[in-house]
């Protein structure tokens, strides 16, 4: 073991790096900090931190300015664990909404949140993906089957139902949260 130290000394002459006591900023925090500083949010989106010191838990609000969800305000919770970016962030929609790719429990079907997550992806990619869900809801492999069927077979009717649900009304007997601005 003495030999290790003499080798360490040799390495160190070039670097002059040292560390000390107290808790270290964690790898997950470092990565999220980077991701946050590289975030480029359009005016239709914002993030809020209930606890400014905890950057691993925050809210994302999306206010689409076009498409069938225009005029709504949709809030997602982001929960990032210490195993980030090995594990993807856990994202859920806080409100009960009528959307083919988001179920009534708030689960979101977005490939990069599960099967296609890779540690090289960043939070920006996730946020862009979420935004896209409101511009281009995808009926082909849905989470909310009725909504998808509705979108596929009767686009006009679907748009009406989306408006109805966003206003806090009910669609086929199911009541949704009011999400209008």
């Amino acid at each position: 073991m003495l030999k290790i130290w003499s080798m360490k000394k040799e390495q160190q002459q070039a670097e002059n790096a040292v560390v000390g006591k107290k808790k270290k900023v964690t790898a997950a925090q470092l990565r999220v900090q980077n991701d946050l500083s590289e975030l480029s949010l359009p005016s239709t989106m914002k993030v809020d931190f209930p606890d400014a010191d905890d950057i691993l838990n925050f809210l994302l609000t999306i206010e689409p300015d076009e498409g069938m969800y225009k005029g709504g305000r949709f809030v997602f919770t982001f929960a990032i664990n210490q195993n980030f970016p090995h594990d993807p962030p856990k994202v859920k929609c806080k409100q009960k909404i009528y959307h083919p790719n988001i179920d009534t429990q708030g689960n979101v079907c977005l490939n990069i949140l599960r099967e296609e997550w890779k540690p090289v992806l960043n939070l920006n990619a996730v946020i862009v993906g979420l935004q896209l869900l409101f511009l281009e809801p995808n009926a082909s492999d849905p989470l909310n089957k009725e909504a998808a069927e509705n979108l596929k077979t009767d686009r006009q009717g679907f748009v009406r139902n989306v408006r109805q649900a966003m206003g806090g009304g009910s669609v086929r007997g199911d009541t949704f949260d009011r999400v209008l601005k």
Binding site: V25, Q33, A52, N83, D103
Partner: protein, 436 residues
Amino acid sequence: MAVGAVSNGIESDVNRWQYLNRFLTTPGPFTDDEATLGDEIIQRISSMKILVIGAGGLGCELLKNLALSGFKDIHVIDMDTIDVSNLNRQFLFRQADVGRHKAEVAAEFVEKRVKGVKITPYCGKIQDKDEDYYMQFGLVICGLDSVEARRWINAMLVGMVDGDNPDSLKPLIDGGTEGFKGQSKVILPTMTSCIECQLDMHAPREAVPLCTLATIPRQPQHCIEWAHIIAWEEERKDITLDTDDPEHITWLFQKALARAQEFNIQGVTYSMTQGVVKNIIPAIASTNAIIAASSCNEALKLASSTNPGLGMPGSNNYMMYSGDEGIYTYTFEHLKKDDCPVCGNLAKKIEVNSNITLRELIENLAERPEARQLKKPTIRTEAKSLYYQAPPSLEEQTRPNLDKKLTDLVSDGEEIAVSDPAYHQIQFRFKLLFRS
């Protein structure tokens, strides 16, 4: 008293450890010329504090092996209690121990079996302990099944290295198994490739798209995942899922089975339900024995220099093992990554006046040669977001900190992490030492 028990303890010790001590006192043809074998080495090993993380399949083996390698002051951490499914490999536990803490039972057993060895258990999480605790050990060996825990202890040990103190460098030996496969590796924190550098060696868990689960299931596993992720939350939202509760597993199993029948999918079983929900990895005694023994063999070589081992900079540090087709090992040097977020850019000590404001600190930092391009720095400690340039809400929340004094924000010796879009993925870490 049995025949052969000697009244002279020293003599019995000499007899008892004769096989091991031969290697600790006599050099062989491959022993490093600089190695100084002899009584001093025997002493050093027996007085070295060594930490075992995990008292499960690997941990039981590690404790046994270390106790029979001359280590006499062993500590072990594990938060788990004993389950009946542990008994096929965790040989320090018996049916009657089910429900007790692993660390405690394992420590008792080995202490009783191997005379003169002291084993100190801690039943809890590694995260409960701080730097002062980890500083007491000469070496850390892990037998863990979680990537998260590995990353945590790795970051801790990397962060503890202090250039002025040789004892602050704790070699980390890590082993892992899955069925007939496993790996063991030696890490010299800050000197060689660390757990974080090796993160790509752990394949992420395979996942199926949520929409497949929700609308087009095809495999029995899809039905189980559906029950686990979607059905439970729809129907039993208020009950926290406990994957060790047979009633919960049964519920999921019945749900999955009904769904499988609806889609004409065959093959959902109780055992598969358990496997999918708990992400069960097959585990057997033999692979654990191989990997744990390899880890302890490296520990003994490292501590004694009786023979060269894995881990020195510029040499092999990683052994991969596979036993399903014949026996195959691949031993190689995993290279340290320059851009590793944990060991790639170590914290530097800087002295500051504790009465300056955060704003002044940021201005000072930008004058440092390595951080000259710092324009819009974002800065935090482990506990606090000190100042964030973006996103706007966080900027607003942290702006008041800019005019606070450092004494109100950080403590003497605390680490700060600084990032800036100008440096992309590179972050600076500084350990702030207050000038009095």
